[in-house]
Symmetry: C2
Subunit: 204 residues, 2 copies
């Protein structure tokens, strides 16, 4: 794309670095910003750079936060003693938006994946181990992707946390709502038959 | 969406103001930026705000430019005496990327549309009229949308520019490449039959 302005070209280039945004979309976004008031655009760019500069990660659970400790860890109404282990911040947001979980979180910042060079030391497992003891955790809920890497991570953490009476659970796997049975893969169908639930718990 | 950080929330809000970007995409983009180096993100936001602040519009043709006059108007290799009238900067970019046109441009900044409250005075028609005389334009190429508004604008400009020997042309309308004949609308098909071309010019 040959644009008559270097300033415009630079802005398009910056936008097209973002995931899922190609040159044409980037141009559309930049031309949109060009039509906005200067203060609006200044606000846009300030908010972005401030966010990157000032955002913190919770020292306890590694969720994003404006403070040393995130609003989930400090919220009084949260149930203590139960911690949900997730791969990334995004999973925290996804689970929070269901409004079905009222416990604490622990963000691993990835899963164990030797092929990608990610070992247990790069994750926040060490910190999880101390939390389980210090915060007297009774249940660890694994909400990791159903992949070999996810399963390996569950296996590793379980071995590490050998505290008596600690309960380990995982989010339910099965046929998703709206999913057609005949198109479900065998593995999912097999697991969902094996782990069948009483109808009462389903309707509730 | 309930996020544990106000900084993150503000950034997501800013991104979702952009056209075609919803809350989920905005969150994805923000989380991507969060993973980048701080200097990278600062660069992103500086480029955007600088672009909005410093960009100019060419005094001659109203195309975007870094200077008083755009690179198209000042380029020596450009053919003088022919001006292509377009609605917006975007059309200039689209035509330029075909590499089939080597003349000048004139950006109207819209088309006449009484329903939207846009009259000839809000457009750059006055300036076009003077350019035609001053720059001794021989041909005006209309590259406007084939709508009633576009046609009205063509009609109005033609009436205004009553210079003898001035040639008026419009970009060809017809069945687009890859378009199926049977699915083309009647209007387009009718016009493309009436304005049929010698096969030689088509193959070329």
């Amino acid at each position: 794309m040959n644009l008559s302005s270097h300033l415009l070209e630079a802005a398009v280039k910056e936008f097209s670095k973002l995931p899922g945004i190609g040159k044409k979309t980037a141009l559309r976004l930049v031309l949109h910003l060009l039509k906005q008031e200067q203060t609006e655009v200044a606000n846009f760019s300030d908010t972005i750079s401030r966010m990157r500069k000032e955002i913190k990660f919770c020292k306890n659970c590694f969720n994003i936060s404006d403070q040393e400790r995130c609003t989930i860890c400090t919220q009084a109404s949260r149930k203590r003693g139960i911690v949900c282990v997730v791969e990334s911040i995004r999973d925290v947001i996804a689970i929070e938006s269901t409004e079905q979980y009222n416990g604490l979180y622990h963000v691993l910042n990835g899963v164990i994946s030797p092929l990608d060079g990610i070992g247990p030391d790069q994750l926040t497992i060490e910190s999880l181990t101390s939390r389980v003891v210090e915060e007297d955790i009774k249940e660890v809920v694994f909400a990791l992707s159903p992949t070999i890497q996810g399963d390996t991570t569950i296996y590793y953490i379980r071995k590490k946390l050998n505290k008596p009476d600690l309960r380990f659970t995982t989010i339910a796997r099965g046929i998703s709502f709206g999913g057609e049975l005949e198109y479900a893969d065998e593995m999912t169908l097999a697991k969902s038959i094996r782990n069948r639930l009483p109808v009462d718990s389903y309707i509730q």
